[in-house]
Symmetry: C2
Subunit: 255 residues, 2 copies
Amino acid sequence: MSSPDFPVIAQPLNVQALKATCSACSMHQLCLPMGLEDADMARLDQIIGRRRRLVRDERLYAMDEPFHNLYAVRFGHFKTYQVNAAGDSQITGFQMAGELLGMDAISGDRHHCDAVALEDSEVCEIPFARLEELFGQVPALLRHFHRIMSQEITREQNVMLLLGNMRAEQRFAVFLVNLSSRYAARGYSPTRFQLRMSREDIGNYLGLTIESISRLLSRFKKTGLVEVDKREIVLLEPARLKAMAAGTAQCSPMA
Amino acid sequence: MSSPDFPVIAQPLNVQALKATCSACSMHQLCLPMGLEDADMARLDQIIGRRRRLVRDERLYAMDEPFHNLYAVRFGHFKTYQVNAAGDSQITGFQMAGELLGMDAISGDRHHCDAVALEDSEVCEIPFARLEELFGQVPALLRHFHRIMSQEITREQNVMLLLGNMRAEQRFAVFLVNLSSRYAARGYSPTRFQLRMSREDIGNYLGLTIESISRLLSRFKKTGLVEVDKREIVLLEPARLKAMAAGTAQCSPMA
DNA sequence: CGCGGAATTGAAAATACTCAAAATTAGTGG
DNA sequence: CCACTAATTTTGAGTATTTTCAATTCCGCG
């Protein structure tokens, strides 16, 4: 063979990849360093740990593991889910690039849920103890961190409203509109994207069965609301979908 | 009349009541100042704003109002709820003494929900801007604040699991067990307490109708699980109720 | 090409909802 | 303090939505 005999040395890019820098990251407008001045961002860079790659279905952390790091998604997608004593599990969120994972672990010093990669993905490790030290020195970082935690609280409140008050059709519309706007914020098409999660995951998240999700997709397709091919979805009538999400329209006319 | 003619001067206690002090508050073991040393607690005392009394059904804040203060419940009970564009509302939590209100407003500088007193109640106003200043000087306070926010995130995740995965009976059992343990933490009876909220509020919170709550109460009563008189409830079989909440027992035997 | 997981579709069943009416409780004013 | 009214709660009957169970179908992958 003509390839080198020293693979470790032969891959300097991997070594570089172990160290993340926020300044060079395309997500820094959405992520933890949002709005920081260059000097402050550099200080944040100094504490950021290694990057970590995960393959599809690999677990980033598990419930009850001791808490050391927050994680910022660099690319790829994750799901977080809780399992209770009876074995029921509930997906509590899907996270994409620029979003923060692990905040629910702060209160108990242990992770409160599992986080699993939905596809090959990469995260930045953020040692929380060092982040706390930095809070005293970079007030803007602290303020933004509070906003992120608060945003997570409001996000979950929105899910509570969805689960507590909405019918299946509306839940699914809300789900699609939410993905759409998050992709838009990242510069991707708001009307054409891949569903990174299985139908089963969607159903679990929305408090519905996989069969219900399947039926909803079929109905949405039939009424010309969306086009679906495997996990690729095209929103053909975003306005009508938004109206459904808001509760001011329905897919199937009322009886 | 023999009472003084100068009521303002004659009621020095009211003047004192305008100024709250954590050190003198019976809730300081559960509330924001938890675990602070005396000196740090004194500093927190200095920024705490006035106390505010609310009568039953009075609103503490409303959605979209500008955010200035967090509130710590001194006594009484509150509910927080969200209303969406279509007018659907969802109660996102019931708060009691020692619990913090308003954290969801940090991210948007506006309140994200309404907070209403369920009975005559009192809160401490905590000016958030001043609290932020204090974070830099009292690291223990900052750490505890993060724990409180994180705890709110995990609480909401638990509600998501409840709304997404549990049947009516289990939801209601979880609700009662949760109230029970919170009262226990405050030194009250874990088996005998008042439901401060209406059946309608309970139903809204649990994603059920008022009729369902009423039927559940009747069923729980009939099987000897609880005793109910108006809003006074006695948990007759806490162990069985906990088993139901955990999903390992059922009120009515399976068919 | 065939295996296996994922997704779709159909039919029957269950859970909780809606609507309606009655009973109870709380609030108000005399 | 009582009576009256309004609000809340309970109960019943019928219904709707979603689930469950079962049978295919589709698709990726070896």
